[in-house]
Symmetry: C2
Subunit: 340 residues, 2 copies
């Protein structure tokens, strides 16, 4: 680590002919006032010398840094990057910096990153991304976060419920259920599901909601029409391939994320099926490009940017007991699911 030598407050004070205390008060403000003339002089001096406050020093004495730490599974995934974008917008408004890390969906890494975050003494830690059902690290992670919270930090989980912390919950069950209704209403009868890892609660919820929605229309989702894969574009491609190999008669496929739907769509075409023509295809999330593909993708809208904002709101408002914000979802029918 190269030594970085910088202008210090002491140098500014000296140059302005005041004490360090006064310089501090003049520049970074506090309850105490400093006379206008001195204040101006100090500020000008600081400007001239190119003084920049040392955030770490401030953090040491204040006990917390003006920072919010964000942990996401994968920043290259448009789902997470859209949420992150909302978080960063909120953070900027609140004058906070953002430190970010990706867990790559490995929960041991998640635990380590949270430890590292704690070392930074951020004002809040936001964890985005579905939790695994049988996560060996779950307890360790929760302990870390609890300790952090008890030390005065705020914890916000996005799409991680149930949990003892503040929560931003996406209505996955309801959205998938409504989607099922809509698809049946369009004339779908034989449904398949391209499912991200079942162990991720998000997927489990979306599957359950979809099955429930179908059931409410008198259709039973067969287990053999569900293919599981990684919760990524490639996973969708692979799972769809598997589904095709099973030689079922499907007229509509629901993928538990838009990203998986894109992969599934490519697999369909490679098998000679045009989504939106011979077979229907629906996703979930309504990520940015889902309306630009051909055929435009039927999906369930999740207001991703808003989610980030809400997470920051929770992080900043102080309240005693944990709160939950429910994010409503809504079905968007597009050309990928034809009316029959």
């Amino acid at each position: 680590m190269p030594p970085q030598h910088q202008v210090t407050l002491a140098q500014v004070a000296e140059a302005a002919g005041v004490s360090i205390a006064t310089a501090s008060r003049a520049i970074n403000g506090s309850t105490r006032k400093v006379s206008e003339v001195i204040r101006a002089r100090v500020r000008r001096t600081a400007e001239e010398l190119g003084y920049l406050p040392n955030l770490s020093a401030q953090t040491v004495v204040k006990g917390a840094s003006p920072t919010v730490a964000v942990l996401v599974s994968d920043i290259a995934d448009p789902y997470f990057s859209a949420i992150s974008s909302g978080i960063m917008a909120g953070a900027r408004q609140a004058g906070l910096m953002v430190t970010m890390a990706t867990s790559e969906r490995r929960s041991a890494d998640e635990r380590d990153m949270i430890r590292t975050f704690r070392s930074q003494r951020p004002r809040a830690i936001v964890v985005v991304g579905s939790r695994w059902d049988e996560d060996p690290e779950a307890q360790a992670i929760e302990e870390q976060l609890t300790a952090y919270q008890q030390a005065g930090g705020r914890v916000v989980m996005v799409s991680q419920g149930p949990s003892p912390f503040d929560l931003v919950e996406i209505q996955n069950v309801e959205g998938a259920r409504a989607l099922a209704h809509a698809l049946v209403d369009q004339g779908g009868q034989h449904f398949g599901v391209v499912l991200g890892y079942r162990g991720l609660r998000t997927n489990a919820d979306r599957l359950a909601g979809f099955a429930q929605g179908l059931a409410e229309r008198g259709i039973t989702l067969q287990e053999e029409t569900v293919a599981e894969g990684a919760f990524t574009r490639d996973g969708g491609y692979a799972a769809m391939g598997e589904l095709l190999g099973r030689d079922l008669e499907l007229d509509t496929v629901f993928a538990t994320s838009d990203l998986m739907a894109f992969g599934a769509g490519t697999a369909m075409r490679e098998a000679g099926l045009q989504p939106g023509v011979q077979i229907g295809l629906a996703g979930f999330d309504n990520i940015a490009l889902s309306e630009d593909v051909t055929p435009a993708l039927t999906t369930v809208d999740v207001p991703l940017g808003q989610i980030g904002r809400h997470a920051m709101d929770l992080a900043l408002s102080d309240h005693e007991e944990a709160r939950t914000i429910e994010i409503p979802t809504s079905v968007i029918l597009r050309a990928s699911t034809p009316v029959r």
Copy 2:
């Protein structure tokens, strides 16, 4: 800012019955050794008490924080999120944290963010995103970065050349030129361009390279066949609309980014033109979904993840004079540009 009270090194030292100095050496290691037995005892105590080193305190005394600061235009844009992903992977390997901010392409914000970054004393600052041609803040930003560098920090610019700093340069001109060749070879004759803001060097380069490539095949790109818009999906949609309104006879359209191409494609379809059938469409960047759309998008591959890695490599290797890494690009022909 809530006071966060935490276990300190002093408490660990006390509990372990050693001095603070010894505790420090036992836990965070240094040149000096501490006997195995004491070392073990201290570590165990730290573990039991849940001690976490205070990174800010360490930063204050060491003079720099184990952090790399990243500034991107817009994290929700897949171009930037893919690069960020590479950067974060590199940072993790190097044991560094990442602090991230978005400038929203406003250069005044960019300047402010860099100031804030400097306050954090990061080990490196990475700035990703094309520079504006006539940027009123350009000088202020360069001064900030120069001062930072002189204080011992490392600066890496991605796609920002020319600049006095370390540079990761994408071969935009060459890529666009090669694309033009390939499109002419496929039988294209009447070309249009959906251009992101011309003031962004990236767009200017891609346009220039494309025009040059056409010229080398004996085709002159007419100014009236170029429509300019925001460097986003919506910009592409709007610019394509404008182009269509001009009533030209185009057989192929080059959009200066995949994102713009997606928007342009939607505009084409709304006008009754099928990309890949009546009209060719090509993009630039090869973002993740470009092969999943229908028709799959012809584009110029830019290895975005690698770019991030290279940026981190530059940030970490220490060398005197500024270096430049050239990232090669390569044409990928897909169905959106039919062979005629």
